[in-house]
Structure formats: structure tokens, C-alpha cells
Symmetry: C2
Subunit: 206 residues, 2 copies
């Protein structure tokens, strides 16, 4: 099928659909509907049908979606029908927790290295990794051709770390530092900050 550009807002919902569908598959389910997905996800059934229809005709009127087929297609579309290696920068609490967590591999990602610039952390173990010297980052990343990284350093250092990652060839960065990072065109960044989520909710509290 010939793909026209998909709005990023739609791309952003596809991982949510994939996650729900993979869970259904794990439960041994074979068929679902936009209505059932809607009840699980709090996204309207019409929106789900419209989003999925952009990528082809997945569901048949009246028979619902084949879960296995839809998982296969979404993994292909999101390019997670492979495993992307991830470099983590920052061996503090969050970086270490992420590096140790094993829940990413069946969803397309595996942490394979962790860096820090603190001499007291370099050479120590985090899960199954030895913390590497940030000074070696460019060399290691260029050698391994890693394209995905996570930043888990204090806010004040996050931009310089991002610059170094971009210079080394990284194309996708997930930033845990509580600061906005700028990246050049062609590099993708996502920010994750629990406090912005929390503040979005306290607005509504009494």
C-alpha cells in the first residue's frame, strides 16, 4: 500500500493501540472491535477506525479486527518488528531504573549501554551493564550505529548531552530531564516529565 504522510498526532496514538492489542493477544484473544478498543482506551471508536483506516483496510464491517494481523501491521508501521538498541545517558536513579527494566524487548527496544561522567559511577555495575565514561560516548555510538538514546541527567546538562548524541548520529531521543531540549531537523525528541503530568491534573483538584 502506498503511504501518504500521516499526521504526527495519529502516529502518537498507534503505540497506544498496539499496546492494547498486544495485551489482548497475550490473553489469547483473536478478534476485537473499535468499540471494544474504545472502552479500553477512552478514545472514540470513530477515531480509532479513522486512524487505522489511514494504513489500509484492517477490519471488515461486522467481523471486527483480526488482532494478530493488526499487531503485525502496526509493528511494521512503527518499525518495531525489530529490536532497537538504546544508549542511556545518566546512571542516577531514573537512568539506572530504566537500564535495569526488562520490559522493553518484546515492544521493540533493548537498553544495551549506559554512560555517566561521574568518576565514582564509571566502571560500576547497573543491572547487567558496566557504566561507561561519557567521554567515550561518541566513539562507542558511532561504532555501534545506535540511533536511539535516553537522557536521564540533571536538567542543566541535558542540552549538551543531546548535542553530543546528535553529533554521534543518534536520531531519536527520549528525554527524562525536566527541561525542553532543542534538536536539529531530522532528529526526533520526546519529553517525559512526571511533574508536568501531575500539574496537568492538580489544575482540576479542589
Amino acid at each position: 500500500m502506498d503511504q501518504k504522510p500521516i499526521p504526527d498526532i495519529v502516529v502518537g496514538r498507534l503505540p497506544i493501540y498496539l499496546r492494547a492489542l498486544q495485551r489482548m493477544a497475550q490473553e489469547g484473544r483473536h478478534v476485537t472491535s473499535s468499540q471494544e478498543m474504545s472502552e479500553h482506551l477512552g478514545i472514540s471508536a470513530a477515531q480509532i477506525r479513522k486512524d487505522l483506516s489511514q494504513f489500509g483496510e484492517f477490519g471488515k464491517q461486522g467481523t471486527g479486527y483480526n488482532i494478530e494481523y493488526l499487531v503485525h501491521q502496526l509493528r511494521q508501521i512503527l518499525k518495531v518488528n525489530r529490536v532497537w538498541e538504546i544508549a542511556v545517558v545518566g546512571a542516577g536513579d531514573i537512568g539506572s531504573a530504566v537500564a535495569r527494566s526488562q520490559g522493553f524487548a518484546d515492544r521493540g527496544f533493548r537498553v544495551t549501554m549506559i554512560f555517566d561522567n561521574d568518576p565514582e559511577k564509571i566502571g560500576t555495575s547497573v543491572g547487567s551493564f558496566v557504566v561507561q565514561d561519557f567521554a567515550q560516548l561518541a566513539e562507542v555510538i558511532q561504532k555501534t550505529a545506535i540511533q536511539v538514546a535516553m537522557i536521564a541527567v540533571p536538567a542543566v546538562h541535558a542540552q549538551e548531552v543531546a548535542d553530543e548524541l546528535v553529533k554521534s548520529g543518534v536520531k531519536a531521543i527520549l528525554n527524562y530531564a525536566p527541561i525542553h531540549i532543542n534538536v536539529p531537523e531530522g532528529v526526533h525528541i520526546q519529553h517525559t516529565d512526571p511533574v508536568t503530568h501531575l500539574q496537568r491534573m492538580t489544575y482540576y483538584l479542589e
Copy 2:
């Protein structure tokens, strides 16, 4: 000023503005502009002006925004001119990392307790906390009137934990488990899952 309902999408951007403004304040800055904020945040200056104007006249044409005043107003609007106590459920890697991190208090939040149902974890220390028995959660939360919680348990247990939190009076939940959670009307939930962020980016990679 009399507030009409603000679209949630706007509410969601206010913490981003507040974070940037607080950083400028820390740097000793006093005045900024929608243009400068736009360069920092990758949100258009027109959007920033429109968002902020919903809450009153913060900036004067030609003189820019008074940072201290805007921080004060945004903290008040988001109700983070106080400190909300947080209960964390799940003393695994992520829950422990969140409980130990001290970076929330000046942004309106402080973790004050952590729960788990694993007998091997109950009674052990995580940072300055002793892990409490999940069986005691309802009682403790009702006594302390905590309204904000974080869920950091395996996906399979996340919904039941959320149900228990809601029953105990929690009104805002940040969910780290990689599964969608349903909550009743009047309760607010935000999901944070690094893999959905990563998959949103790999879509664009070669």
C-alpha cells in the same frame, strides 16, 4: 478574574510554560517574551500568547512578560503554590527511583509514602521511606487525605491498584504501568510509558 473552562489541551501546556519560566527565574532573569519562549519550547509564539491570554493579561505589548509574576500566576492556576503529598504504589525499580528522587518539591509535589504487596519488600527502606503493606493502603490514605498517587506496579495489577486508590479517595493518578487504566468521572489519570514515546519516534526512522 472570572475563569471560563479552559480546554484540557491548553491546561496541558501550562506546566511546560511554568517549567521554562521557573528555569529562567533560577537564572536570575526577570523578563521574557512569547518569542523567546517559543524558541525554547518549540511552540509558536502566537500559541503561547493565546494560551496565556486565557488566564488574564500577563504581558504588556512591547515590554514582554514579567517572569516572577507569570510564575506566581501559573502556580496558582495549576494549584502548585502548595505541596501535594504523593503515595507511590509499587517498590520496584521505577517506583523506588521516583520515591527517592527529590526533584518534585519545588514544583508542587512530595512523595511521602510507598506501598507494595511483596512480603520481601514490606518493611524495607527506599530512600527515607519504609515500604508499607498494600493491604493498609485504604486506611493510610483515608487518614492522611492524600489525593495524588503514582502506580508503578506490573501491568496486570495496575487496574486493581487504581480501583483501590480511587475507593480510598485519590483523585489524581499518574500511571507508570504499560497499560491503559479506567477511572470514574471526577478522577484524573495520566499515563506515562517510555515505549509509546519511543515507538512514536521509530515510525520516522529508516
